[in-house]
């Protein structure tokens, strides 16, 4: 145990030495002016309203991001970022096919700290807007029922980005980043009163109430980004 305790200061010292030597490399080219990303967002949705549309609690979405640095100060920078996430799930409820399409748009500030020129940590709190379209193929009605709603919330997350490709210095050139973040995405509940589209199915159909749907839950996003 005493040997291990003695090893820890040595490792910290070596890390600081490396960091100091890397800081000798100019930081600015590694702080992306503009950055576009493509990745996956995996959310865990525990709400019971999600059950008719999925056999599990996971919601996987394609995630497209865009960001631009607004302000730099030494290792710190402030960027404006936005994401569009899209996912679709389908299942069946009592033999009727169900599906759920979710679009999520989040835009807001992101604070970054470059520990190394090629490594920065970030945190963001992004107001989010989601549009969900739930459908139910009603075997008796013989047309689909829908519940389409907007909901609002906030995505709060922290993560890290590592530059996997790019010149060590020089002018602004494309740089490729691997980014991972984790956080919690809050969205308000929306009603699941399923009704056929106007003009579809029998006259004066009633709605089917499947309760409410909240897509809030923790999430993880991994993406690859190209920055300039």
């Amino acid at each position: 145990m005493r040997a291990r305790l003695g090893l820890l200061p040595a490792l910290v010292g070596a890390f600081l030495l490396v960091a100091a030597s890397v800081h000798a490399e100019p930081l600015a080219p590694h702080q992306p002016y503009v950055q576009g990303s493509l990745g996956l967002r995996a959310s865990k949705v525990a709400d019971a309203g999600y059950d008719p549309f999925s056999d599990s609690d996971e919601l996987l979405q394609v995630s497209v991001g865009l960001g631009g640095t607004l302000f730099r100060h030494h290792s710190w920078s402030l960027a404006a970022v936005g994401f569009w996430d899209y996912g679709q799930k389908s299942s069946s409820a009592r033999g009727s096919l169900t599906s759920l399409d979710v679009h999520r748009l989040s835009v807001g500030p992101e604070l970054r700290y470059h520990l190394l020129p090629r490594l920065y940590f970030f945190a963001h709190a992004l107001p989010a807007f989601a549009h969900s379209s739930a459908s139910l193929d009603d075997g008796v009605l013989q047309v689909a029922r829908y519940a389409r709603h907007w909901s609002y919330g906030l995505d709060g997350a922290a993560g890290a980005a590592f530059e996997v490709y790019g010149a060590t210095s020089g002018a602004i050139r494309p740089r490729v980043w691997a980014i991972a973040e984790g956080g919690y995405g809050y969205l308000g509940s929306t009603p699941l009163e399923m009704s056929p589209d106007p003009g579809q199915g029998p006259q004066r159909p009633s709605s089917v109430d499947l309760g409410t749907l909240s897509l809030a839950g923790p999430y993880l996003r991994v993406s690859a980004a190209v920055g300039f």
Partner: protein, 498 residues
Amino acid sequence: MANGQNGLAPAYGLTAAVAVLDSELGRVTMLSSPSALTLESHSIELGTDLAATRVSADRKTLFALSRGVQPQRTPHDERPQLLLIDGQSTLQATRSYTLTEPMNQLVLDPKNEWAVVYGSAGVVVNLNELVLVDLAQTGSEALSFKTLLSFGGSPKRFTFTAPLAVPGGAPRRFLIVERDSDLVLIDLSRPDRDAVTVPLPSTDRGEAASSAQVVYDADTASIAVRVTGTTSVFMLQLAAPAQDGQAYSVVTNLVDVGGLPTAIDFVHNTQGLRLVALVGSSAVLVDPDTATTQSVQMPAAFTGIRRITDELNPAAMPAADGDVALLYGPNITKIAYFNLSGAPGALFRSIEPYEIGVSVKNVIDVPGEAYFDHKILETPNQQFYVLDLHTRESAPMKTNGALTLEVAPDGARVWAYNPGQSGFASVDFAKLHPVSLIAERQVSNVFDIEASSGQRTAIALHLAPGTNVGIGATVLDALSPSTANARFYSGLELGGLK
């Protein structure tokens, strides 16, 4: 009479709800109407492994017999049970009776005082064990286990009698169990007492016979049995005890009616009680006391008889005035009124035939007080007749497909539909005006229930065919049915509805 055939119907009509079985989830979905054109649904858990369901004669209660968890592995495993669901007011499970063994068959007393479960499903099965459930009691006190002494055979049909005026005791109800070659009489006032088994006579060829029909007269405690393969009617008289230890005795007699009877019933004429047996083109009247017979020629070979005295005059005293009976048959295009109130010598003109152009396979009663004097004559083909017994006028109704009739529990109208088709119709007894309706989906059943607001609501069910469990309904105002303002409900199997 009730038979104990197995089976589960997809839906049952109750007075204030429609019960739709959801066997996949072991529950029943209760559809009720809080107000005109509205529908509510909720589900009630049924027991595990549902065996039989029945609706009481007054349509107020749904009975569900379940086998429970079999085999039992833990003390907490669900036991076999008989569950009662109130279909009139609370629309909830109101009572259950826990059984010791899983049973398959359920028979209900038309007066809603008793239920019989039988047909166990164990490794060793006693075919003649009955469980009598006294519906006036709760818990295990309500159950009486009865093993019928057997000369071979098992229960086939059950008849719950009205209180029979057995000499030497208070009038009491009996359960008559028809088996392959005998009858069993169970005194329902003392079900713990030994049952009385009465062997049936053999056929005229000396072969084993079985009962085809049982009728009784409550005032004289007389029972008559139409037996297959014999020209004789088997008469039983419940009499005062003949020896110590007996609650009553049974005196039997065989009366030859001159041919194979197709139907029997007890009637009263001016001379007293008579058994009428329809034999070919003759109606044979049998005096139960003397076994003497009197025959009257019928205008056709009617094979069905239905007493209609009470419908013609509910306050009549049948014993003094004589009964009136309706004669009909599935191969005769006539009906006839058999009036037994005339003098014995005028019997030859006691039968008045009416040509209606179609044969009658069944006579359906109309409940309630408004149109109790109406009968619905169901024909073997695509027609039915609404018969006014007072005016003796019949209104033929022709349909364009196979026919299922559903008489509204309030007795004010009848619904006709053809399962699997989208068309259905209502016939109001007041005006005999048919209203044809075309639903937007195929109709599997039509029910007429009372809404919470007191209005009448018609529910045309749309059940998804095959393995799909979809439940939908078109809801109409039953008193003024129109698809122009009907509402369509579906997704009821999902539990949520608005």
